[in-house]
C-alpha cells in the first residue's frame, strides 16, 4: 500500500497527538517545532511554546531555523533573560513537556549529544549539552524525537550527556532529579514508551507498513515489546493539510 505522507510527517503528527491537553512545552527547532505548532492548532489549543533562548508564549509567523529566530519574539507573551528562563521557568517546574533528541540513546532513554568516541580524542565532536542536561533533569516529562537507526539506538552510549532513567535501578528520585524523565520516543518507524517498573524502552506501536523485525534490526539490544503491540494511526487529512499549507508550506521538514 502506498502512503500519501512522509516518515517525517508521521513523526510530527504522532508527537503532536501526544501533547493533548498539555499547557507548557519546551520546544526545539525542526520536527519538535512543527509538532508543537500542530498540537496548538489541534489537540492542545492552550499550549504555550517555551524556548531556551528566553521566550514564553511564542507565536511564530514563519518556520524558525533556530530557537532564537526573531519571529519567535515578535508577538510572544514574554521575553526574559536566560537566567530567568532556566531558573524560574525550567528549574521552577513550570515546563510540563520538553522535547529532546540526540546522536545516541540507550535502552534507559539516556542521551548522548556530546561525542562519538572518546571525549579527549573524539571521532566526531557533536554539539554538546546546550540546555539538554538541565532540561532532562527538570522538565516534568521528556519526549524524544529521533530517527530509528542501529548506530543511534545503542547498547552503550559513548558519552551520557543527559540523564534518562539512568540504569537498571531506574532511580532518578534517589539522585534528586525533579522530573519524571523520558516517557515517549517517537521515531520514523515506531513509538516506544517506558515501562513503569523496569524504566526500559518498550516498543508500543508500529507505523503502518513497518514490521517488528525492521525495528528489532535497528535497535542495538534485545528489545522489549509490549504484549499488546499496536499499529499507530496514520496522519489525518486535516493534520496533513495544516502541516503542508500553514505550518511548513516550503516543506523544509517534510
Amino acid at each position: 500500500m502506498s502512503q500519501d505522507y512522509t516518515p517525517s510527517e508521521m513523526m510530527i503528527v504522532t508527537a503532536a497527538r501526544a501533547l493533548k491537553g498539555v499547557r507548557t512545552v519546551f520546544v526545539g527547532v525542526g520536527l519538535p517545532n512543527s509538532a508543537c505548532n500542530l498540537a496548538r492548532r489541534t489537540v492542545a489549543p492552550d499550549l504555550e511554546l517555551i524556548y531556551e533562548s528566553g521566550i514564553y508564549g511564542a507565536r511564530p509567523a514563519r518556520l524558525p531555523l533556530s530557537i532564537g529566530d526573531p519571529t519567535l519574539i515578535s508577538g510572544a507573551r514574554s521575553i526574559c533573560s536566560m537566567v530567568d528562563l532556566f531558573g524560574l521557568y525550567l528549574q521552577g517546574g513550570r515546563v510540563e513537556v520538553a522535547f529532546l533528541g540526540g546522536a545516541q540513546i540507550d535502552r534507559f532513554g539516556n542521551l548522548n549529544t556530546t561525542v562519538i568516541g572518546d571525549w579527549e580524542h573524539p571521532e566526531v565532536r557533536l554539539p554538546g549539552s546546550g540546555g539538554a542536561c538541565e532540561i532532562a533533569t527538570n522538565a516534568q516529562r521528556i519526549f524524544v524525537i529521533m530517527r530509528l537507526k542501529r548506530r543511534a539506538f545503542v547498547e552503550k552510549l559513548h558519552f551520557r550527556t543527559s540523564p534518562g532513567h539512568l540504569d537498571e535501578s531506574g532511580d532518578r528520585r534517589r539522585l534528586g532529579l525533579p522530573g519524571a524523565g523520558p516517557q515517549l520516543i517517537v521515531t520514523d518507524k515506531c513509538v516506544f514508551r517506558f515501562d513503569e517498573e523496569m524504566r526500559e524502552m518498550t516498543l508500543e506501536s508500529l507505523y503502518p507498513g513497518v514490521s517488528l523485525s525492521e525495528v528489532e534490526e535497528n535497535v542495538g539490544w534485545d528489545l522489549r515489546v509490549a504484549p499488546d503491540l499496536q499499529q499507530a494511526h496514520s496522519p489525518a487529512r486535516g493534520e496533513l493539510r495544516l502541516l503542508r499549507e500553514d505550518l511548513d508550506p516550503q516543506g523544509l521538514y517534510r
Partner: protein, 306 residues
Amino acid sequence: MPDKLMGMEDAIATHVHDGDTVAIEGFTSCICFAAAHEIMRQRRRDLTLCRMTPDLIYDQMIAAGCARRMVFSYLGNPGVGSLYCVRRAVEDGIPRPIELEEYSHFGMVGRYTAGAYRLPFFPLRSYKGSDLPRVNARISYVKSPYGDEDIAVVPPLNPDVAIVHASRADRQGNTQLWGLLGVQKEVAFAAERVVVVVEEIVDEDVIRSDPNRTVIPDLVVDAVVHEPYGAHPSYVQGYYDRDNAFYLRWYEISKDPASTEAWLDEWVYGVRNRSEYVEKMGVEMVQQLRPGDAWAEAVNYGAYDG
C-alpha cells in the same frame, strides 16, 4: 559624564590583549561579529574564548588562530549542523589545537551570574547522572547546609573583557536592549572591562524616557562603539533579520580549510572595518534583511514633578 564613544579599531586595541579571557556573548541575536573580525585583523593570539554557543563567530576566530582555549555549552551551527573549523581544531589540531572547557547552558548562565554577583559558586539542578562532571573537574557538588541534599555547583566566570552588542546606547554607555536578552547583563556585570556595541547612539533623554529598557548601566561600561549591522549575520530585533542563508552557506564554506581561508581573506582581512563590510554586502542585501514594522504600545511612566 565621560563620553565613551570610540571606533571599533581603538576599542579592540585598548581593551583586548593577547592571552585575555574574552566573552562575546549574545544568544542567536546580538552576536558582535564586527568586534570578532577586528580582533582577527589585529591578530590577537592565545585568547580564552567564552560563549554559550560558539556559533559562527568563534568558528571564524578559531580558523584565524586567535584562540588557545574555549569555554562553552553548545558547539553547533544552530539548526544547521557542525562547526567545521572548531571540529578541525579539536579533532586534528588545525590550525592549532584548542583546549575545551565544557558546560551545559544553565552552567554557563550560572557561571556568569556568580561572576557578576561576586559569589564563589552558583548552585543548579543539573549534571547528576551526566558524564559532564567526569570531563570537567570544575563542575562539583556541595551539600546543602539546610538539608541532606547535594547540589551541583559551577565556579564564577569573570572575563577580562566582555563585548556586548545591543540595540542602542547613549555616549556614556547606558545601554538598551529588546528582543532576546541572553546573558548580556550578567556578562557585562561579570567582566573586568566592557565594550558595548550598538546599532544606534541616542541622547541621554531617550534612555531616561524608558529606563525599564536599560539593561546595562554606564557604571560598568568602558567603551561605546557605534557599529550599524555589527551583528550580521546574526540579527538585532527590529533592526535586521538573521541572515539564515549565510548560516547555511557557512556550513559549505567551512567544510574545507581552503574555502574558509578564502572567505576570511575576502570578508575579514580584505576590508578595513565594518562599514566596508556592509558596503560589500550591498544595498540589496541590507534591504532584504530589513523586517517590517511591529511597534510596541507606548507606556506612560507619569510625571511626578507637581
